[in-house]
């Protein structure tokens, strides 16, 4: 294919806009390294005059950031384990079993995915209240141990596995559950890893639900803690930016390692529709 025009203008547009896209991150980082006084200087300095790395230490003293981190990590892992457990079992039933009621349940699941959060938020809160779970880890974990999208995603994948495999397992006397555990799960590893990444991003960034079901500082996940911190320390910009940097850093690292997987699976979910 002969090119009818040069790609140079394309690169120029992409780079200029790319700088614009990156600028907020750059500003976050430089502000995080400034002294409070320098951060308020106008016109601002594009490069910190003194690198105040101690902002990243001070932040842990000003606010229970470490606690928020540990809470988020604990919640993310616990709910992920739940999502995988419920997801793999349900997907297996939907993909590889024939039984009465299967399709009806499947349609119900599909419909549930369309219901937006506010519709079930108020009553869920009351149910959690009745259970005495408000302001506990259970309220942050248990309702999120099912991810309907995960079930669909795994079902799609399990459907592509060849039937011969299952026939062979059956002939060899391998039971249903053992087939799932020893054949289906190992073969679904890429799909499971993709899902795990999605789920971790989701729980790391979730805000609305934890905002509502937590009241005490010791139970708060990172995003909620950060949000309240931003209201309290609304003018200490270096500390605010240091906290924001730390809050997004783990996901940016994850993103760099699993970039292909994340982008491709986002793209694929778009195409599935």
């Amino acid at each position: 294919m002969k090119r009818r025009f040069s790609l140079l203008p394309v690169h120029i547009i992409l780079i200029i806009c790319g700088i614009g896209m990156f600028l907020p991150f750059y500003w976050m980082l430089t502000t995080a390294l400034k002294t409070p006084l320098e951060s308020l200087r106008f016109p601002p300095t594009f490069f910190p005059q003194i690198f105040k790395f101690s902002n990243f230490v001070e932040i842990f003293r000003e606010v229970a950031l470490l606690r928020y981190f540990l809470n988020t990590i604990f919640i993310a892992i616990a709910s992920l384990l739940g999502v995988l457990f419920t997801g793999i079992l349900a997907a297996y039933a939907f993909a590889r079993m024939e039984f009465w009621g299967r399709d009806i349940v499947f349609i119900i699941f599909l419909a549930l995915m369309m219901i937006p959060l506010p519709v079930y938020l108020v009553p869920s809160y009351m149910i959690l209240f009745k259970l005495g779970w408000i302001d506990t880890y259970s309220a942050l974990i248990v309702p999120w141990t099912v991810n309907i999208f995960a079930i669909f995603f795994l079902r799609q994948h399990m459907k592509t596995l060849p039937q011969d495999l299952f026939d062979a397992a059956k002939i060899d006397g391998c039971g249903r559950f053992r087939t799932l555990w020893q054949i289906v799960v190992p073969l679904s590893k890429p799909a499971i890893i993709t899902l795990a990444i999605f789920d971790i991003i989701g729980s790391w960034n979730s805000f609305f639900w934890p905002l509502i079901v937590t009241h005490s500082d010791s139970i708060r996940p990172l995003q909620v803690g950060l949000a309240y911190f931003s209201r309290e320390f609304s003018t200490n910009y270096p500390l605010l930016m240091a906290a924001s940097t730390l809050a997004i850093l783990p996901l940016i690292i994850l993103f760099f390692f699993a970039q292909k997987q994340i982008i491709q699976s986002y793209a694929r979910t778009g195409l599935k529709e």
Partner: protein, 317 residues
């Protein structure tokens, strides 16, 4: 025979039980429960009084509800088309077999993986009227200080007032503050749409383009008659997703605006925030449940409308 059927159903449901149980308690029961709550004056201590449909009528007569709906409407009207055009534009640029595709894609995608809370804090700082980076950069272009998140004036008013045209309140447009929130949300969501458009573009077989070229189609005709029709399923998906996310905008408002959040003068109080405020700050749970239902009905109606509207033009490759 019947026994075998029963047995297979039991096994099947055994596998579904963990998921079903959680969904039953935290999704299915709440949805029905929500209907009941909306029929009561329901406070923190429980149901106080049966009201029938009164909550729904009150919501419809509530000027703040209509204001929040208008704010959400402006949010959607501005963010969806701008994001749509920009992301399609960048996706087309990235689809030209250029060097550094991975680099650019990462750059534009970065805001998508970061948390809305953190980036809202960062943008609030960028928007700071006296010390913020944006006003500093704009000062080079001789733009006078913009009070971004603090300015309640509608942007249509700002455009038309110098021409001595007075607009009715409803046409004031989104406030400068709401536009600032929209700007941030576009920045945050752009990469997601680019990646989906890009995948759609890469899915179009090159044979179509070659055939069209042989027939003498120019660049514009190629886009109009090949790319655009084959992209319709993606277009539909992006429109539906952006509509839903416009209605779900919440954290941005909670963090960036105010105090009190939703300000200045309630011009950034979107539906989701109003729902939150009524339900979980004022603890008017019955009223909140009614607002949630209206929001759900609107999202549903819009999705069906988009489906109907686009279905006629959808060309599946």
């Amino acid at each position: 025979m019947k026994n075998k059927k029963l047995k297979s159903a039991l096994t099947g449901f055994a596998y579904l039980t963990p998921a079903l149980l959680i969904l039953l308690v935290f999704r299915i029961i709440p949805i029905f429960f929500s209907v009941r709550i909306s029929l009561y004056d329901w406070g923190m201590a429980g149901a106080r009084q049966f009201l029938g449909l009164t909550n729904y009528f009150r919501v419809l007569q509530d000027p703040v509800f209509w204001q929040s709906l208008l704010n959400t409407f402006w949010y959607a009207i501005f963010s969806i088309p701008i994001m749509f055009i920009l992301s399609l534009f960048f996706a087309i640029l990235l689809n030209q077999k250029i060097k550094g595709l991975g680099f650019y894609r990462t750059l534009y995608y970065l805001p998508v993986v970061t948390s809305i809370v953190a980036v809202s804090i960062v943008w609030k700082w960028l928007f700071n009227p006296e010390r913020g980076l944006l006003n500093y950069l704009l000062s080079f272009l001789h733009v006078s200080t913009i009070r971004w998140l603090e300015d309640p004036r509608g942007i249509f008013t700002l455009i038309f007032n110098p021409l001595h045209i007075n607009l009715p309140t409803i046409l004031n447009g989104p406030s400068v503050a709401l536009c600032s929130v929209i700007l941030m949300s576009i920045w945050k969501g752009l990469g997601y749409n680019i990646v989906i458009f890009l995948a759609g573009l890469q899915n179009i077989p090159t044979a179509y383009y070659e055939a069209a070229k042989i027939d003498g189609a120019g660049r514009f005709r190629l886009f109009r008659n090949v790319t655009w029709p084959l992209l319709t399923p993606i277009t539909f998906y992006i429109l539906v997703m952006s509509t839903i996310s416009a209605f779900e905008a919440f954290a941005q408002v909670w963090i960036m605006t105010g105090p009190p959040a939703g300000g200045p003068l309630g011009t950034t109080k979107v539906v989701m925030y109003y729902f939150y405020e009524q339900s979980f700050e004022l603890w008017r749970l019955g009223y909140g449940a009614s607002i949630a239902f209206f929001a759900f009905l609107i999202i549903l109606a819009l999705t069906i409308f988009q489906r109907q509207f686009l279905e006629k033009r959808v060309t599946y490759a």
